[in-house]
């Protein structure tokens, strides 16, 4: 950027979420400070600055749309921002809270809260792109701060960032992580999950649980059939798919299919359809 021009303006907005993606931003530490030297961060509640109505070049949005006021606030953000980038599973796919989309959430509320009438809750938790146009979606629970930074850098130098949507497997191989599925029989979701996390789970000898959402052209049917052939129960497969990114296709469709094949779960709470 030419230093004579005004600094690009950035906002980080929060909707229904755990704040973990904002924390991933904050955890960049010194690198966030360097970023702050090249941009003006006008709104970032978790870090301090608050100016929700600011006109910005880049608006990062964390969280899903879950209350009746969210949609209106989101539309104003869209009007005020040149680029809108969703950060994390909630903003991009509805998040873990979107599990209620498949159930009667009214019944859940009645079973938990003495006065559910006080709650302002939409029947569904929606990803941001269902309400407004989104320029770029970053996945993850939470997002990878480095990926957020790389995307910001690309926008700052004036090109649309490329987000690698291929499977986690290639990253495991680049880092010489031995495949946990082949060598230990763990039901790894890596082959159908979008890369970007840095293969952190397989690196720690555990199976990927798909927090970065589906990879491009993910063959969920082949992987889940393989899981079943190796002794995984239909209910367990459904739980793998209908998890953090339960609203993302093809996880949703395949997950519902496996759920319909599952034997009733004796430990499930009443109220589930």
């Amino acid at each position: 950027m030419n230093n004579a021009l005004p600094k690009p303006r950035v906002a980080v907005h929060k909707f229904s979420s755990c704040d973990g993606c904002q924390l991933a931003f904050l955890n960049l530490g010194e690198r966030l400070l360097s970023l702050a030297e090249t941009v003006d961060i006008l709104h970032f509640a978790e870090a301090g600055p608050i100016d929700e109505g600011a006109m910005v070049d880049i608006a990062f949005v964390e969280g899903s749309v879950a209350t009746s006021r969210d949609a209106e606030r989101l539309k104003r953000i869209r009007e005020n921002s040149r680029y809108v980038i969703t950060i994390g599973a909630c903003a991009t796919a509805g998040g873990i809270q979107a599990l209620r989309n498949m159930h009667d959430s009214g019944e859940w509320l009645a079973g938990i809260y003495a006065q559910p009438g006080y709650l302002d809750l939409l029947p569904e938790s929606s990803p941001i792109a269902r309400i407004i146009k989104v320029d770029l979606e970053l996945w993850g629970c939470p997002v990878n701060g480095e990926q957020v930074l790389a995307v910001t850098r690309a926008l700052l130098v004036g090109h649309m960032p490329h987000v690698d949507q291929n499977a986690v497997c290639m990253e495991c191989k680049r880092q010489h992580v031995v495949c946990v599925m082949v060598s230990q029989g763990k039901p790894c979701m890596g082959p159908v999950t979008q890369t970007g996390c840095g293969a952190i789970c397989p690196k720690m000898q555990r199976d990927c649980y798909a927090c970065f959402g589906p990879a491009i052209q993910a063959n969920v049917s082949a992987l889940s059939t393989h899981f079943a052939a190796n002794g995984m129960l239909a209910r367990e497969i459904a739980q793998r798919l209908l998890f953090i990114n339960n609203q993302a296709e093809p996880f949703l469709g395949s997950g519902i299919q496996w759920q319909s094949q599952a034997a009733p779960n004796p430990t499930s709470s009443p109220g589930i359809k």
Binding site: T38, H176, V178, P191
Partner: protein
């Protein structure tokens, strides 16, 4: 040069020490994360002593072997590809100077002479293909060349094949035939050493060891013969290029489309696959960039993204491209098949797709209605 010497098992450390005193960093196989991998080797007890591998489509398990041998396993998670064609490296960097002009810096690698113990015949055959591609073309790759030229290779003839091995079908093993400095044949009581280069012979001479007996050499030959006999998988009679090209409409590709995860594991573990992608990393202030090369797979749709379109947009097309190239059109390009029979693509495919099985079906041709 080819007189075979015998190194008693209890003196194996002296080979490691001799290589070190000759100025080499030593790398050898060891167990890490439930697999055999290559890593820095200081002591003989780091080797996978008494460990064997059980391999099947989509399955790799280490088990205790019946012997106390160091090389009683067939193949590890990778060949030596990561040491020559590295998974991710910076090729060059650019910088914007205060006057607005750009400067470019070439990246130089620092290599040390490195001896790798335990290279298999299939891995050597693959290395020879890479040498051809990276070093003998019109534009030799300086980073590959520098790493490659730093290597001293100690082959181990296979005395045991995994169920996924098929190097006898490609003609690349189980005996290492060329491309090494020293070769080892492991017997219960020690190792038969043979030199293939002058510097290999120097190491043997410095070890001050006796000649192997005829009986020992016969036992080693029998062991290698047994490894060949253990192999169950075969390839259709070649050359396969014409058969695969004429199978372009075969319905089997659709079956593969349904089974293949398109995850790229087969290509990443293949010792001959060398596809790559280049990415630029920009510094936060936008004043510096690093141009990075990293492993890539033809199973990624991005790989065929050219001028706004993805040429091979369907999984079946990508699988067909990979298999047809590896076993068919590779011959036209490199004068031999791109497969060395290591079987890693079978073992490390998460859903266990077996190329030998697929080729058998595809090369049989379409049954006339």
């Amino acid at each position: 040069m080819n007189r075979q010497r015998f190194l008693p098992g209890e003196r194996f450390q002296s080979l490691i020490d001799q290589l070190k005193s000759a100025g080499y960093d030593v790398v050898g196989p060891q167990v890490r994360d439930h697999a055999i991998v290559f890593d820095a080797l200081a002591k003989v007890d780091q080797l996978p002593i008494g460990i064997t591998d059980e391999q099947a489509p989509g399955r790799y398990r280490l088990e205790k072997s019946e012997s106390r041998r160091c090389f009683d396993w067939a193949t590890g998670a990778q060949a030596i590809k990561p040491m020559t064609f590295v998974a991710r490296e910076t090729l060059w960097q650019s910088e914007r100077l205060p006057d607005g002009s750009l400067t470019f810096h070439e990246t130089l690698v620092k290599t040390r002479p490195t001896a790798i113990i335990g290279v298999r015949a299939c891995d050597l055959a693959a290395l020879s293909i890479h040498d051809h591609h990276f070093m003998r073309g019109a534009h030799p790759d300086p980073l590959y060349s520098q790493r490659r030229q730093s290597l001293f290779l100690i082959a181990v003839h296979c005395m045991r094949s995994a169920a996924t091995c098929f190097c006898t079908a490609t003609g690349d093993g189980p005996r290492a035939r060329s491309g090494y400095d020293l070769a080892l044949s492991e017997l219960d009581e020690g190792f038969i050493l043979e030199a293939h280069t002058g510097r290999g012979l120097d190491i043997i001479v410095q070890l001050g060891i006796d000649e192997a007996t005829v009986e020992q050499i016969e036992r080693a030959d029998a062991g290698i013969g047994q490894a060949a006999k253990q192999q169950q998988r075969i390839l259709p009679v070649g050359p396969l290029q014409e058969k695969l090209v004429s199978a372009v409409e075969h319905p089997r590709w659709q079956t593969l489309n349904d089974r293949c995860l398109s995850c790229g594991n087969c290509t990443a573990v293949c010792p001959t696959c060398f596809c790559q992608t280049h990415v630029d990393e920009i510094s936060l202030d936008g004043q510096q960039t690093s141009h990075i090369r990293q492993w890539e797979s033809c199973f990624n749709p991005d790989h065929s993204h050219i001028h706004g379109i993805v040429i091979r947009s369907e999984r079946a097309h990508r699988y067909r491209q990979w298999l047809t190239h590896k076993f068919g059109t590779w011959e036209e390009q490199f004068g031999r098949s791109g497969c060395v029979g290591c079987g890693r693509c079978i073992t490390w495919c998460p859903v266990g797709i077996d190329v030998t099985e697929e080729l058998a079906v595809l090369c049989k041709g379409l049954v006339n209605e």
